[in-house]
Each structure stands twice: as structure tokens, then as C-alpha cells.
Symmetry: C2
DNA sequence: TGATGTGAAGCGGTTCACAGCC
DNA sequence: GGCTGTGAACCGCTTCACATCA
């Protein structure tokens, strides 16, 4: 198929597939069908096939996918075959927590620098990562070959930080500030908005607990008390 | 309109709208049109109107929305008019960072307890929040009237923690573990998968930099070098 | 006149179902 | 026989465009 425009939903799922494959591989399985993956990890088999088909024909009809082979392909497609160097802007609680977040190191992301504007923090170390002055941003990014930025500053500073990041040539940004950011089209910005997530949970809790509506929908019949 | 099934995309946006309204209100504006909000915050005016219309007719034709009035409505709809009590399971880096995450306290979420299985951590305090033994989960949840759980444990423990949460009667869960969790229909589970987000960024970086394809699409013409 | 509320069209993603191949 | 790859149907969300009303 080899289509052009890959949606972000697809790339997110590729990451999931890779995770699933790792689990399957760890058990020594060498071949796996989309149906098997779907059942086991609560996915849809057609979707798996379609997602994969965007990038080539990796499967074998009548057999399935070769686990090791598919892992290699996905790793390459996701660009996880070479390391990324990450900087985190904002050496507050969240920033420092992310600095030695296990998930980063696990998948070929290396946190190379922290930045802050607070003189108190500059020069200190978090684990073995140094906190630099945000004023030195462009210089440090260049020197340390950083290609991913994480924004972990208060909302009101986020836009100006993003502009600094943009100017430095970094093309991938993860933002934790609950602010609506604007950025040029050639930069990938991914916002994780914890406030919105929380408030969405709160909405759910505020709903009148219609005990049976969901269960009824699932089982296909309407119960009434 | 007052429709039944509200999508999560809508509730997420309600949270955004409320945030925007707060900003507008802070400037002393008393009335605002969907068009104005849309332009200012890069939203779509029709979508704003449609989202709001799900919950009633809050606007006045020819005028717009009364800022203060709409804020009150949204606050109520999102269940932010009374406080939620949050527990965080996993007193590692991420868990402790979230404990005094500013965004929590800001919007009527109060972190009331931390849980961990590590004897070293149990009994210690993070800020003024105590770390409890996960074995006492049900008891503490009940006593402290906790209604939201945050899962910040390694992936392999996430499912069993979720089951504990489920049994305790908590109906809203935010999960940071990169694991595919299953839970009964009456519980709202929101997963924030940092690994997937990162890998999706990595995919973007791995793409051949087609300098002009996006710009071309935006401007409606194809440039070629 | 000016902005809402909303039916209808448009669009993108998911699922179905099956032809094609091992 | 079994499973992939994929056109077609389906579904839900977004956007448009306008009737409606202050």
C-alpha cells in the first residue's frame, strides 16, 4: 500500500504494537498473526494489518508476521534505532521527575540537559544531568546535539519557551504546560494536558451514576429498576 | 439540544473553554462571542457552540455568552464546584512530582494520600502528604473519601493496582503506566502514555524532512527544488 | 444587525468482508 | 486451510451554512 499521509493515531499504535511484540518475543514466539495480537492485547486485527500495510508488506499470508522481523521494521520506522537526545526546560518538580523517568532511558531517549531561569537551580545536577541557564539554550542544544525538547514550565512562559526551542532548530517538542501553543508547521508539538485530563475525569464523576445504561449497552439489553 | 452521549473530545474541550474564559474574565470582559473565542484561542466557533449546546442554551443571539455565567455553568458541568480527593499510587519520582503538581491544587483537586509497597517509603511524607502501605489501600481510601486514583507504578504492576482501585469503589483513574489496562465499564480510565508520545515524536523526526510538502499544502501550491 | 443553535455536508478513522496468496 | 492486504461500508467528529431570534 505504502500510503503518504500517516496519521498520528497510526504512529501511536505502532508504538503499542512494538510494545506488544516485545512481550511476545520475550516468550520465544517467532511468528504471530494479527488476530492473535488483537485478541491478546485487545486491539482490532484489521487495524493492525492496515497500520502495518502503510509501510510495506511485512506479513506472510497463511502464516502471519515474523516477530523479530516486524520488531526490527517497527523500530526503524519509529526512528528508535538511533538515540535521541532530550532536554527538559523547567527544573521544577515535574521537570526533575521526568529527567530520570524510566520510560525515557528505556527507549533510546537520553536526557542530556535541563534548563531553568532560576539562578538557584542553575549549575546544580539532577542525577548526572546538569541544569543550565535558559539563556544558554541555543548553545547547549547545539553542543549536545539535542533533538527533542520537553516543556515543563508554568503555562505563562510556555509560548516564549517554545519560540526559543523553535529558533534552536529542534523539531520535536513535548509540552506539559496547560496552554494553547502556536508553532510553525514543520515542528511536531505534542501536548500532554494533565489539567484537561483531570477535568475530564471530574466531568465523568459529576455525571449522575446511571448504573445500568452502560452495562445495558454492553449486553445489548435494557434493564430498568 | 441537550443530547445524551457526550464524547470525551467534547469534555476535553469544555476544560479548554473554561480556561479561555478565565483568561477573558481576568481582563474584565463580561460578554464574549464564540467567534471571538475561536479567533483568539485558535478554535472553531461552530464547534464551541455545538459543544455548549449539548448542555443547554447558554448564549444570547446577537450578543454572545455572558462570561461569568458561562464560567459557572462549565464549572458545574465539569464537576469542579466541589473538591476531589486524589490518591497517587507509586511514590517514585513521577508519583512524588505529581503530588505537588501545581495543576492539581489549582483546580480543586487535593492530593490526600500516596501509596507504595516499599517499606522504605511508607510512613514518610511528601510535602504534607503521607505515604501509606498499599495494603491499607481500601481502608485509607474510605477514610479519606478519595474519589480519584493516579497510577504511577511500573507497567508490570499496573493491572493489579487497577484492580485494587476498582474494588475500592473509586470510579475515576488516571494511569501513567505504559500498559494496556482492562477495567470494568463503569470506571473511567484515562491513560497518559509518555512512551507512546515520545515514540510518536521519534517517528516524526525519522521522517525524511520534506521541507515543502506541508508548506505547499498550506499555501495550496506545490513547490519543487 | 449580529450571534446563536443546528441540520446537512464533509472528512477521517475504524471495521467489515473477502479476494488473493502462501 | 489460514492469514494477509485492501476496497467498501460504516461511524463519529468537524465544519459549513443558514434559519432563527434578541
Amino acid at each position: 500500500m505504502k500510503i503518504e499521509k500517516i496519521s498520528e493515531l497510526t504512529t501511536n499504535r505502532l508504538s503499542i504494537y512494538l510494545r506488544c511484540l516485545n512481550e511476545v518475543a520475550a516468550e520465544g514466539t517467532s511468528t504471530v498473526s494479527s488476530e492473535h495480537l488483537a485478541h491478546r492485547f485487545h486491539l482490532n486485527s484489521a487495524q493492525i494489518r492496515k497500520d502495518l500495510a502503510c509501510f510495506g508488506e511485512f506479513g506472510v499470508r497463511g502464516v502471519g508476521y515474523y516477530v523479530e522481523n516486524l520488531r526490527e521494521h517497527l523500530t526503524k520506522i519509529l526512528g528508535l534505532d538511533n538515540q535521541h537526545r532530550v532536554c527538559i526546560i523547567g527544573a521544577g518538580r515535574l521537570g526533575t521527575a521526568l529527567t530520570d523517568y524510566y520510560g525515557f532511558s528505556q527507549t533510546n531517549f537520553k536526557v542530556a540537559a535541563l534548563f531553568d531561569a532560576d539562578k538557584e537551580k542553575i549549575g546544580k545536577k539532577v542525577g548526572d544531568v546538569e541544569v543550565f541557564d535558559i539563556k544558554d539554550f541555543a548553545r547547549v542544544v547545539k553542543k549536545d546535539k539535542i533533538d527533542v525538547a520537553v516543556i515543563a514550565v508554568p503555562a505563562e512562559y510556555a509560548q516564549s519557551v517554545l519560540e526559543k526551542v523553535s529558533k534552536s532548530g529542534i523539531k520535536a517538542v513535548m509540552n506539559f504546560a496547560p496552554a494553547p501553543l502556536r508553532v510553525s508547521e514543520d515542528i511536531k508539538l505534542k501536548t500532554i494536558d494533565l489539567t484537561t485530563s483531570l477535568e475530564s475525569l471530574s466531568y465523568f464523576l459529576a455525571q449522575p451514576r446511571n448504573e445500568n445504561s452502560k452495562a445495558a449497552k454492553a449486553s445489548g439489553k435494557v434493564s430498568r429498576k
